[in-house]
Amino acid sequence: MFQAVTAHRPPFRAPAPYLKGMMPDLLSRIASERSEEAFRRLFETFVPRIRSYMRSRGADAAAAEDLAQETLLMVWRKAALYSAEKGTPASWIFTIARNLRIDRLRKEVPWQELGEDQEEIASDDAAPDELVSLRQRQERVRSVLAALPPDQREAVTLAFIEGLSHSEIAARLSLPLGTVKSRMRLAYGKVRAALEDLQ
């Protein structure tokens, strides 16, 4: 029973130091110096996570490995196109993995553009206050999610990590559709409230 209760609620582990603070530096070193050492650190952090992200949407081990590596190769190739208005480095990497999963596993059009076609190329360095505010945002979101009631955390995890639609989540949990939607909204409401003074 204990297993069943915790199945959808993986424990939050303190993020590795480079997830908390140094990520923007890693990305800008990849962009400006083509630093292979910086890339290796991103690679080691994200490949295992993206691999399990791909597996949770039904990719077999080999496909998940390929997609995780491809995500990181896109990070390498497109690092110069990252800028603070695209989110934090981690959320930018999430969007690359998400779009790849829609394209390759769902075989659908990833309609959300990553902005690589924007005419202006992002500058190498984000302003220091921008980096601070990005780190604050990511850290606040992380702590809000860590403190979510289990039912809300389960709903957002099924949506964001397993890629399930509202009706698929409702079927999985034997809940009315409206309950799924309200759990999602409640979770986001807390995130918004936590970010309000950083806008």
Binding site: L19, R40, F43, L72, A80, S91, E108, Q112, G163
Partner: protein, 216 residues
Amino acid sequence: MSQPVSHHPETSKLMSFAAGSLPEPLAAAYAAHASMCAACRGELRDMELMGAALLCSAVPTSGDAAGSIPARPLSADRAAAPARHDASDRLPAPIARHYGLSFDSVRWKRLGPGIWHHRLTLSPGVQGDLRLLKIAAGRQMPLHGHGGMEVTLVLDGAYRDATGEYRRGDIQDLDDATEHSPVADPGAGCICLIASERPARFKGIISRLVQPWTGM
């Protein structure tokens, strides 16, 4: 392009869009709305932070190392830039680019009196419907319901129903429970993007529109 939008997507569906779990036709309409709405782009960035936090908090299986960086040369990206989109075109950039269309190049097909459409193809095997719809000034659609999730995004002109007025950039979320009888703006008519997770049922709606003339 920058007038404020007053009707936005429902929050939990926008979250689905950020999560990459919204059905394709609806994702197309939400992408089009986001291209016209800075407020929703901001919300999407915050929702993506949730995705990143959940991704980073997942504990990889023990002993699940990253493996080695593939031997493929780490070259810089030399992919061709996608087609440019004219920012003054009223067709939203994601739709214009994906389908290679501009607002004035849409080939409208008559669907019924005062109603034209242009179907947009979805990926093979995807259920649902995505199309542009043009409704003549003042034309009222018969009262109709909606199957599953459906959204309407106004691209030009406006329409009105019992819930309010929808202008360029406004999105209306419709679902099983919603019935409406929208009227196109008496001056400008209305051009909108309609996305549905189920196959469309326009035939039934249009035939009811024709009934008064055919005397049925």
